[in-house]
Subunit: 208 residues, 2 copies
């Protein structure tokens, strides 16, 4: 399954959450596609990878499709505990990021290796020594980690994460990580958002 | 133009950059679509919004399509100077983010309002007093800003940015900003990446 299809499920989910918020109960593949700039055929093809969710003559029932997508994404009736590794500037900033909880993720434990940071309070947490990783991960059943360590440490820490059973890593370190096939890596490409803005600014300047 | 279409241009661009790196000079809409999990019809439709870029029997010439996309996104032969506003944890972390430069963006000036941060060195920059914003933006021709201030200050700072002529804002503050139609806002939804991981982890667990 291409990553982009799974990303689109997230985008469909956000649109559905908005649509439900505005009081609508059903939506057609054409309407849903329009919001994401894809054809209605693409919408149906995306969902057909996972099942049959539409109703002839009705379209999709928003609440039901939301639940179906959450089921596919693994976030239905479930809060994923997440380990944050690296409590420098980025780690601290990420801990304050509000967008995780709503979608079913919670940073439950934060680690560092620096003696000056370990033990410090950070939001609702207290920074823990990375040496506790193995015991914590087992006890809390943690499968996901956010990697916010310096580039030089990233692969070494990744190896540790893999060894203790982490199977999904959101990588903020500017390095390509090597992991076994059974482990997934996701990266954030912030330039995409800036490109959206440069596009819009150029369009706006042309208009003026 | 839906934001998602413009985002896909960025994703096509990244794939083309990879494909060129691996030594290929042409690519079909089917191949390009496969990488992003969209149909070849969707690929052609996305590009048809902007012009006619393919060659019958050949597909797309990778270098040429790369240039075409950069032209559309406004990043061809151009480095956009960006203002970073807010030099707390997040701002400092963003300044270290390596992914901007490659795509044509450079944080040229960083601001804060705190006396303890103003004047401090930050990467290659020195944090400046937000009071200098207007003069700097005019002198450097800055159109894009990254907003990394606390939620409580976000709208006030946004108003300042708009007033001095910033037309694109990448917003990291967890608030919905109000701006005139001529100003564009982009947001980062980090939960999308975590959802990709939860999806992958669930799939992996089913396999085991």
């Amino acid at each position: 399954m291409p990553k982009a299809v799974v990303s689109r499920l997230s985008l469909y989910l956000r649109e559905l959450q908005r649509v439900i918020g505005s009081g609508k109960s059903t939506i057609s593949s054409t309407q849903l596609g329009k919001m994401l700039g894809v054809t209605d055929a693409q919408v149906r093809k995306d969902f057909a990878n996972f099942g049959q969710f539409g109703y002839p003559g009705i379209g999709y029932r928003c609440e039901e499709l939301t639940e179906n997508i959450r089921e596919i994404l693994g976030t239905k009736d479930r809060l994923w505990p997440v380990a944050l590794v690296g409590c420098g500037n980025l780690g601290q900033a990420l801990l304050g990021y509000a967008g995780f909880d709503d979608q079913g993720f919670k940073v439950e434990v934060a680690y560092d290796v620096s003696e000056t940071i370990i033990g410090q309070p950070l939001g609702d947490l207290q920074v823990r020594d990375l040496r506790h990783l193995e015991v914590d991960v087992r006890e809390k059943g943690i499968k996901l980690a956010i990697l916010a360590v310096p580039a030089a440490a990233a692969q070494r820490v990744t190896d540790q994460l893999v060894e203790v059973g982490i199977s999904g890593i959101l990588n903020f370190a500017p390095v390509t990580l090597v992991v076994p096939d059974s482990v997934s890596i996701a990266e954030v490409d912030l330039a995409i958002q800036l490109e959206q803005l440069s596009f819009a600014v150029v369009k706006q300047l042309e208009k003026e």
